[in-house]
């Protein structure tokens, strides 16, 4: 299977006054098309930073990031915006819906920036909301929806431009376990049925168990990776220091 994301010796260093904080320390990574990968690690391990860099929301201090073989640091701001809008769909822990827009308007928003006509936007947004089981809530604003419902709207929004990659940063972090499970099932279905590449950041082994591959990160370094999820997660239980 072809490589869709490739990282070569990626470093991210934040300058906080006179102190240098190393968020990522020389990460190299290859992700194949159609992968369902969970990135797990304790707070402050650098997993969200890694996800931001993969999603073109941030740049590494050092190292290279390739998307479909293209070096993203060589792309113009407009090309990056197009990639974020068309190629990648984001799901955030805080849902990040626009509070003044209704569910359907939030879902249609990424299509506005891709120049899709209004009627088509509306139809596709409706279809997506139906897919996530929110056909009855399309005209509700985020504050009128539960956390689980808001996250489903966010998933529908992430899918609006039919992206190849879905990046989810702690997608169940603000949800109860039942809603969290539902969200993960939607993501697994997207992977199985639509062959989307899905990257999920979590610190919850149960959530990570939905994925097919796992990558453990600690202090900005990859400490383990592989498809033997159960073994890796068992290791976590045995050695809490890993997380």
């Amino acid at each position: 299977m072809e490589t869709i994301i490739k990282l070569e010796d990626v470093w991210k260093i934040y300058q906080l006054g006179k102190v240098e904080v190393f968020a990522l320390r020389g990460i190299s990574l290859e992700i194949k098309k159609g992968t369902f990968l969970s990135i797990i690690g304790p707070s402050g391990s650098g997993k969200s930073t890694l996800l931001n860099i993969i999603g073109c929301l941030d740049f590494p201090t050092k190292g290279k990031v390739f998307l479909d073989g293209k070096d993203v640091q060589k792309l113009s701001p407009d090309e990056l915006a197009r990639i974020r809008g068309k190629k990648i769909g984001f799901i955030f822990q805080q849902f990040n819906l626009l509070p003044n827009l209704t569910a359907i308007e939030n879902v249609a928003l990424p299509m506005v920036f891709q120049g899709i006509p209004e009627k088509e936007r509306e139809k596709r947004a409706k279809d997506l909301l139906r897919m996530v089981g929110l056909e009855g809530r399309i005209n509700h604003k985020p504050q009128e929806l539960s956390g689980g419902e808001q996250q489903r709207v966010a998933i529908a929004r992430a899918l609006s431009n039919d992206p190849e990659i879905i990046i989810a940063d702690e997608p169940t972090g603000n949800l109860d376990s039942k809603s969290g499970k539902k969200i993960m099932e939607i993501l697994r279905n997207l992977h199985l049925k639509e062959k989307k590449t899905i990257l999920v950041v979590t610190h919850d082994p149960q959530i990570a168990s939905f994925s097919e591959e796992i990558l453990v990160i600690k202090d900005g370094k990859i400490v383990r990776e592989g498809k033997n999820i159960e073994e890796i997660l068992w290791q976590k239980l045995k050695n809490e220091r890993l997380f």
């Binding site: 073109c56 941030d58 701001p77 920036f113």
Partner: protein, 387 residues
């Protein structure tokens, strides 16, 4: 709150512009009353705006009858009309009020008023010479003695006078509130038997006004020298041209003041919008991050924020224009009720258009910088903002 800054700015500009324009028109119309072939002599020196007022109201100086006779003899002078004013108690029906009386030699002055100063009757007729008749200003029947009409009788210090006519507006509240009577009657009533506050000099047509003014000055100088031993003459001779230049000076002064105030208003309004826009950008940093994460280009973020600041500017502008006009109208109304300079607030379509486009312009200009900053934010930084 968001549009308050621009609202205050546009409010200040609109009210100031309409009032200053109105004031300008009122002063121009006042100074234009002087006809081409008429010179005005009055005590005091006009050098600036403040001395103009003291010249009119402050000094007790009078032009002596002897001087007037001498001026009459100057070649090229057609006539000299002494004018005087003073307040007195006037009774109409049951009401007694203090009113400004205006004494003028009926026969000569009335012609001059009609022909050279453009005075017109609103109702009735002009008083006839040697009769106990008066003419009243436009505001007398409306404000001072409501219901007064030609044919009615009024009593000035117990003497009965017949009101024969009402004048059309002369341009100022003071002029429109006067009662005009023959100078002989005026002198009997007030007891001022000699001299006058003003004199109008009618010169023959074709004679150079400036040269005449010079000649009159010489006569005045001579009298002054003989009487008080001084060279300087405490009088001003106002010609049509000089009045024009005084008007020019006053207008320039008004324009400088308005420009200064308007500049402050513009800066206040602009800073208000800019501050609002910065606050808005700060408050919505995360929203900008979301927009960028879902594919918005920098230029699109810039446009979104510019449209927003333009809308904010326009809303502030419309409200500011409306309030400014309302305030100017209020001041106009206040000026009519109270004895101030009485003028109309000048509200033109141009002023309204100016308010609209100015606020739009300020909105866009002051929104540009914060919008540019918003557009330049890194998506990850923007998304992390409140986290």
């Amino acid at each position: 709150m968001t549009t308050l800054g621009i609202l205050i700015g546009v409010f200040l500009i609109c009210s100031l512009l309409s009032l200053s324009e109105g004031l300008k028109e009122s002063i121009i119309s006042e100074l234009r009353t002087l006809g081409k072939e008429v010179l005005m002599i009055f005590p005091g020196e006009i050098t600036d705006l403040s001395s103009l007022f003291t010249a009119f109201f402050g000094r007790g100086l009078k032009i002596e009858d002897e001087t007037i006779e001498k001026i009459k003899k100057i070649e090229g002078v057609e006539n000299v009309v002494p004018l005087d004013y003073g307040a007195s108690l006037v009774r109409y029906k049951e009401k007694t009020k203090t009113v400004l009386l205006f004494g003028y030699p009926r026969k000569e002055a009335q012609e001059l008023f009609k022909m050279n100063l453009g005075w017109k009757l609103d109702q009735g007729r002009w008083p006839k010479p040697k009769k106990r008749e008066v003419i009243v200003g436009k505001l007398v029947p409306s404000d001072i003695f409501p219901g007064l009409k030609p044919g009615d009788k009024i009593y000035i210090k117990g003497r009965e006078f017949l009101v024969t006519g009402v004048l059309k507006s002369l341009g100022t509240k003071q002029d429109d509130s006067m009662i005009g009577l023959d100078i002989e009657d005026y002198r009997k009533i007030t007891g001022f038997r000699k001299g006058s506050h003003f004199a109008l000099v009618k010169i023959k047509s074709g004679v150079d006004t400036e040269r005449m003014a010079q000649k009159i000055k010489e006569v005045l100088k001579e009298t002054q020298k003989r009487k008080a031993g001084k060279e300087e003459i405490p009088f001003t001779i106002l010609t049509n041209e000089k009045a024009g230049s005084i008007a020019g000076n006053i207008l320039a002064l008004i324009q400088i003041i308005v420009f200064a105030f308007a500049s402050v208003a513009i800066i206040v309004g602009g800073i208000g919008i800019m501050n609002t826009m910065f606050t808005s950008v700060r408050e919505r940093t995360r929203e900008i991050g979301i927009l960028k994460a879902v594919g918005a280009k920098n230029s699109e973020i810039l446009i979104i924020f510019l449209i927003e600041s333009a809308i904010m500017g326009i809303i502030g502008g419309i409200l500011g224009t409306f309030l400014g006009i309302f305030f100017a109208k209020f001041v106009e109304f206040y000026g009519q009720v109270h004895p101030l300079l009485y003028f109309k607030a000048s509200i033109t379509p141009n002023l309204i258009l100016f308010g609209f486009f100015f606020s739009l312009f300020v909105g866009i200009i002051s929104g540009y910088w914060p919008a540019k900053r918003a557009a330049a934010l890194k998506p990850a930084d923007a998304l992390r903002y409140f986290e």
